[in-house]
């Protein structure tokens, strides 16, 4: 056990901090990720990061990364959020699809898709859920039919984050109609400009079109865009959730930085905490402890990954923890703000805490609802019976 950082790690941190502090845009200046204008501004920042080899530090250099390990990646994340970095518009690609491409993709697929993903030139959305297949993903019915040189896709996907503006989509389709549930599914990489695709943006709670429905009417996808083996789509999809870089969906620095702001807000309203603690000071202390615990558990997991262990069902415990912590942080902030919390500020857009609160409400729902995650924790970490 050793919590000190090596000279190389410290040098890496210093270099990242220096670049980020000089280049991260002023808070709020990029606008909302879920508007066309804000989306393009976020994309431009991704390109700047890519040109300076900061967008995907843990990837091999040939794809635009720095080939550093998971510890350096976490150091980068700490510095990114300390410097007030914006949400990553390319996150579905770089954090969810990329690890799967590294594990299951062909050399040609990696060469074709990774660089433009890292530069933000091609933004990806996820086509997994369907109107009748949410938590029960394995019941999905959108189909892939074999044709000359590829497949024809039909059906409907929904809740595709970034789906309103994305250039590409990774999706799961039933390629064998004779098979049921987890069998007979195939994982496809789909150009959103393909003939037969219709997208209908869906306005979220904040009124912006953060996600979309996608309709597929005889959409042709060439064989080169099948990821993994035909019929093995479920295994590929589950690897996305469990792969080592899947850890990156929520890095701890996001929360520790949010808690620092929460503490400042508390002191602004109530002064320094003293005994006996007010209810809001206690809630803030809970948020602080949870963010610290999350950070430590991340170093624990990162060490385990670096030493060759995969991410197991513990990832479900992690997802429950960060999503509920995020919600708690924002609910506490709104309670401290009191009735003013409900006001829109800044030129008609939502105040940061209110915006963050709406965003955090989605956490317990997406990436597998927390109820599904609790089933996984109970069955796979504790061995409780499925039936």
């Amino acid at each position: 056990m050793d919590f000190t950082f090596s000279e190389d790690e410290q040098a890496f941190r210093a270099e990242a901090a220096q670049w980020l502090s000089a280049n991260i845009p002023a808070p709020g200046s990029l606008g909302s990720l879920d508007t066309k204008e804000g989306f393009e501004k976020h994309r431009a920042f991704e390109r700047l990061m890519f040109e300076n080899h900061w967008s995907v530090v843990s990837w091999p250099e040939e794809f635009g990364g720095r080939d550093v390990g998971i510890i350096e990646w976490l150091i980068f994340e700490e510095e990114y959020y300390k410097a007030g970095g914006p949400k990553r518009v390319s996150q579905n690609g770089i954090f969810l699809l990329a690890p799967t491409l590294f594990d299951f993709g062909t050399d040609a697929q990696r060469a074709r898709f990774l660089p433009p993903m890292a530069s933000g030139d091609e933004i990806w959305c996820q086509g997994w859920s369907e109107p009748d297949s949410g938590s029960d993903l394995a019941s999905l019915r959108s189909s892939a039919t074999r044709v000359d040189g590829g497949w024809t896709l039909n059906g409907q996907k929904t809740w595709a984050s970034r789906g309103a503006f994305a250039e590409w989509c990774f999706g799961l389709f039933r390629s064998d109609p004779e098979q049921e549930r987890h069998r007979g599914l195939t994982y496809f990489l789909i150009d959103m400009e393909s003939e037969g695709i219709t997208r209908r943006p869906i306005a979220q709670l904040d009124g912006e079109t953060g996600f979309a429905e996608i309709f597929f009417d005889d959409v042709f996808v060439p064989d080169a865009q099948v990821l993994g083996d035909v019929g093995q789509g479920w295994a590929v999809a589950m690897a996305t959730a469990g792969s080592e870089r899947g850890l990156s969906l929520r890095s701890p620095a996001r929360f520790s930085e949010a808690v620092k702001r929460l503490y400042e807000l508390l002191i602004e309203r109530e002064g320094e905490p003293s005994a006996p603690l007010t209810r809001l000071a206690d809630q803030t202390a809970q948020a602080y402890c949870n963010a610290q615990a999350y950070e430590l558990q991340t170093w624990w997991t990162a060490t385990s990954i670096r030493e060759g262990n995969g991410v197991g069902p513990e990832a479900s415990a992690t997802k429950i923890f960060w999503s509920e912590m995020d919600l708690h942080i924002h609910q506490t902030a709104l309670e401290i703000l009191g009735p003013n919390a409900a006001l829109r500020e800044r030129d008609g857009s939502l105040s940061d805490w209110l915006d963050g609160f709406l965003f955090s409400l989605a956490g317990p729902i997406y990436a597998g609802t927390n109820q599904i995650q609790r089933n996984v924790v109970a069955e796979r970490l504790l061995g409780m019976p499925r039936k």
Partner: protein
């Protein structure tokens, strides 16, 4: 940066688990519960087995007859003790008294050496925790320390008190103390009130030195309790998950019902995030990191909250049988409730962690 145990550290934990498996069975704990006598249930045998293993003096230097290990080695042993609801106050002796006496250097080295050679027990008292830090009781003539753990076995006491001249820490042989056992819910913790008269010969720290030492006592006590809590919760949630496989209602094991699954899963999630905080605190003590008081508060805050959640959840999942004296679950429940409030409860410790971590 490497946040994991070494094979040697894991082997040490396993050694302790094996000794405890043989010497600290539920029947042993029950013997104490049923008789009210902490000497029952093979207490002496267990104490000497742990002494032979070197656990009691793990943190003492080799010069005084210890193993010269650190808190990272100790923490797994403390968890193992928690898992079996170990009645003897090994955590306080090995994780608080021994390292702090060791830290005082030469004047106490020969006494520590004798204690280790004789396999004697040291208990610690007189320090409570508040948001602002440790709290020590004022005395006039006689001093009192309440809720001291393991009073029946202790041959020596490390005790804090305060009067007009300031705070002081005493190291007092048992024969100079009056000990009154205090009935408590977890009988096995063997609590008592210790009364003594602080005198110059027994004073080992006064003034600023005593303030520092009392800070260390408070933080180390919180850390060892947090480690024990993780151990007891791990054992309890594992047993509860097994129970849900066996217990049938409506023609199915109750563990197949999502209402039950989600309750138990919450405990497992809490454990997943409390443990790394406890291990980090171990490293901070081992390296005398400036963060150690913060890390101890964080660990205890998370572990106390987890302990209360685990106790109420596991009782609820067991239903009526868990509410009986006959079922062994009561040992773990009572240990959780006792440790959750001892040495700073969750609310106190999380506030302390936040203030230490965020105020400039």
């Amino acid at each position: 940066m490497r946040f994991a145990f070494t094979d040697e550290q894991l082997a040490l934990r396993q050694g302790a688990e094996e000794v405890l498996e043989g010497t600290c069975t539920p029947a042993d704990i029950r013997a104490i519960y049923d008789s009210g006598d902490v000497a029952q249930g093979r207490s002496d045998l267990r104490w000497s087995a742990l002494n032979d293993l070197g656990v009691l003096s793990l943190l003492a230097g080799e010069d005084v007859g210890g193993l010269g290990f650190g808190d990272v080695e100790l923490v797994g042993v403390l968890e193992s003790g928690g898992a079996v609801c170990l009645p003897e106050a090994v955590a306080i002796h090995a994780g608080v008294a021994v390292p702090l006496l060791q830290s005082l250097g030469a004047p106490l080295a020969s006494r520590l050496s004798e204690i280790i050679a004789g396999g004697s027990a040291i208990s610690v008292g007189g320090v409570d925790s508040d948001l602002s830090g440790p709290v020590v009781r004022w005395f006039d003539g006689e001093a009192h320390a309440e809720r001291v753990e393991g009073v029946s076995r202790a041959a020596f006491f490390l005790l804090a008190s305060a009067n007009d001249d300031g705070v002081l820490v005493s190291f007092v042989p048992r024969e100079h103390c009056v000990i009154e056992r205090t009935p408590s819910l977890d009988i096995t913790r063997d609590l008592g009130t210790v009364t003594w008269t602080p005198t110059p010969p027994t004073t080992i720290a006064s003034g600023d030195d005593a303030v520092v030492l009392i800070d260390e006592i408070a933080s180390r006590s919180a850390f060892v309790a947090a480690a024990e809590l993780c151990g007891v919760v791990d054992a309890m949630v594992t047993e509860t998950a097994l129970y849900t496989k066996d217990r049938q209602q409506f023609g199915s094991p109750i563990g197949s019902f999502q209402s039950i699954k989600h309750l138990v899963a919450n405990v497992r999630v809490g454990l997943e995030f409390a443990r790394p905080a406890v291990y980090r605190a171990a490293w901070s003590f081992a390296t005398q990191d400036d963060r150690r008081h913060h890390d101890a508060a964080l660990a205890k805050a998370l572990a106390s909250e987890l302990g209360l959640l685990a106790a109420s959840t596991c009782l609820q999942v067991h239903g009526g049988i868990g509410y009986t004296w006959e079922h062994d679950l009561q040992f773990s429940l009572k240990r959780c409730w006792a440790l959750a409030s001892a040495h700073g409860d969750a609310a106190t410790q999380r506030a302390r962690a936040m203030v230490l971590g965020l105020s400039n």
